[in-house]
Subunit: 182 residues, 2 copies
DNA sequence: ACCTGAACACCGTTCAAGT
DNA sequence: ACCTGAACACCGTTCAAGT
């Protein structure tokens, strides 16, 4: 990759992260290009689809996911607390900007999505937490891990679009957690 | 209302219902106007915002909601079955077209939404079902009815965007139902 | 090899002119 | 009072010309 291309790529990603956080996932790509000081064609050369840009933005995000799951697993307390804490972390992780929870959760089952590797990381982190509970024998057995991602992702999606705060999200996560434990 | 205005209004609503069902809530309003045989200005005169059009489309829908809740309450069987059945009906009711579950669920808490009366009808139907379970003493008491709408609406939203069928939705509704019962 | 920016397409929205 | 459709704005997307 040529030096100027590299520089443009990095600036676009940095600016996009900022614009998405300000205006949500549906923000104008024209504005991203302008703020990054490049022509629209340059943006499209590097990121043919909006999702490719999202994928690039989330490059550093994957580490955060793994670390967060590690911490959640190290949590001292009841199984219910562990699960609830993980759910709250999960919601935080996928709520980077407006529209992100919906985007990430709907991509969870799509093998052709440009952000599939990111979804896999998230799914694996979730698997690790659930596996721990399963070994403790406290998890109901007729629900697949991906359905748990969808349930919590659904809560995050609604919280995002209705602009609910953590205090309003908490009871919903409790219902999901209690429904999963036996 | 003048006769030609009335006729145009009705045609637009009818066509919009069809187009939304085919292409989802984000469909082009230009196409709606074209198919209805009116100019774009006519559509905007009757429906200044897209949500006003959605509201008009759902005029007959309110009766269906009330009837569905009536039937659910007449259901013979366990409380869990009653609740689960209502949840499945609820998902069906708000999944009229792509994008509808998200739209309806995010409008549930917004008193300024053009479709607020429709949301109220849905919320009241849900209240009636929950009240019945509360009287039976099987419902946990620390969750507000609107949170139940959001939980089930969240499941419907994800099912909608991920194009899940009823078989995939069912286990998620079971988790929510079991989390709500004690 | 990469960038630029004009150009095109599409769509939402407005409004002057018409009936 | 209502309708029409041209006009404008905005944005995504492409591509010929340039470095």
């Amino acid at each position: 990759m040529r030096a100027d291309a590299r520089r443009n790529y990095d600036r676009i990603v940095e600016v996009a992260r900022e614009v998405f956080r300000e205006q949500g996932y549906d923000a104008s790509l024209d504005e991203v290009a302008k703020r990054a000081g490049v022509g629209p064609g340059t943006l499209y050369r590097h990121f043919p689809k909006r999702e490719n840009l999202l994928d690039a933005i989330m490059q550093s995000w994957v580490d955060r996911v793994t670390e967060t799951a590690d911490k959640a697993l190290a949590h001292e307390g009841t199984d219910r607390d562990l699960l609830l804490n993980w759910f709250e972390q999960y919601v935080g992780l996928i709520s980077q900007h407006k529209g992100a929870p919906a985007k990430l959760t709907s991509a969870m089952g799509d093998p052709d999505s440009p952000i599939r590797t990111k979804c896999q990381v998230l799914a694996e982190a979730n698997d690790r937490v659930l596996e721990r509970l399963r070994q403790d024998g406290v998890l109901r057995e007729d629900v697949e891990p991906i359905q748990v991602c969808r349930l919590v992702g659904g809560v995050a999606t609604i919280a995002d679009s209705s602009e609910l705060d953590a205090a309003a999200v908490r009871p919903m996560l409790e219902v999901v957690a209690d429904g999963l434990l036996r």
